[in-house]
Subunit: 113 residues, 2 copies
DNA sequence: GACCATACATAGCGTTGCTACGTATTGACG
DNA sequence: CGTCAATACGTAGCAACGCTATGTATGGTC
């Protein structure tokens, strides 16, 4: 997966990975790698600053803990974060349809709405 | 369409709009607006520099002409540009599948490969 | 003791697209 | 004839974003 491809869509991925419950940064990376079949292997230098950004923006909330002698910061979606995720999803659907229609000459997946 | 959403995918769109024959910048903008149903309305400050970039990279080649008293620069895909477009398409398919699977919990469009 | 996996963090950089502006011609409208 | 919209090109400067490289520290394994 080329680097810059992700631009503008990272936040959505991070929020989505937190949807089913709190996770810490390292775990988010592993989760995304797993669900993408290894195609998405985000560097820590991408994820940690992004999580800080999302927290500052009030979309997630972090809490320190210590597990097996290692400190962790587990993040949880806020109500605002959930709304943002839902917007990201909608934006992605539109975006994918538009780019798909240009690149592939068709609607990638007909939008049921 | 939010601004930054496009990052990293603009080149593919521009190359695709030149696939069916030469076009000048203004015409590329109109074409993309048309095929996207008005959702994609690229500012000239985005398109012209991008076309220059693509030309410098050898993916397209421009030629000046004058039509109805107005100067135009019509761009045409080079062989290298065609190869790049095909790579962009493949990259898009992979990318859309990955993001789709994370955001929507499924493969948006199963990849036939 | 060395090394890898786990877990966090930041500085600095390059790319990218946008905003805002500027130039020039043609044609329509009053 | 003056004004304005559409056509058509261009650039400077900016802000956002994600990556690379690097650093710290612990626990488990060999």
């Amino acid at each position: 997966m080329r680097a810059e491809t992700l631009k503008g869509h990272l936040d959505g991925l991070l929020l989505a990975s937190l949807e089913d419950g709190p996770r810490h940064g390292y775990s988010v990376i592993e989760e995304l790698r797993a669900v993408s079949g290894g195609q998405l292997d985000l560097p820590t230098g991408t994820v940690y600053p992004a999580l800080h950004r999302l927290e500052t923006a009030g979309l997630i909330q972090g809490r320190w803990s210590v597990v097996a002698g290692r400190r962790r910061r587990a993040y949880q979606l806020t109500a605002k974060g959930r709304r943002a995720l839902s917007k990201e999803r909608a934006a992605w659907t539109r975006f994918a349809a538009v780019v798909g229609s240009v690149l592939e000459g068709r609607q990638p997946c007909p939008d049921p709405t």
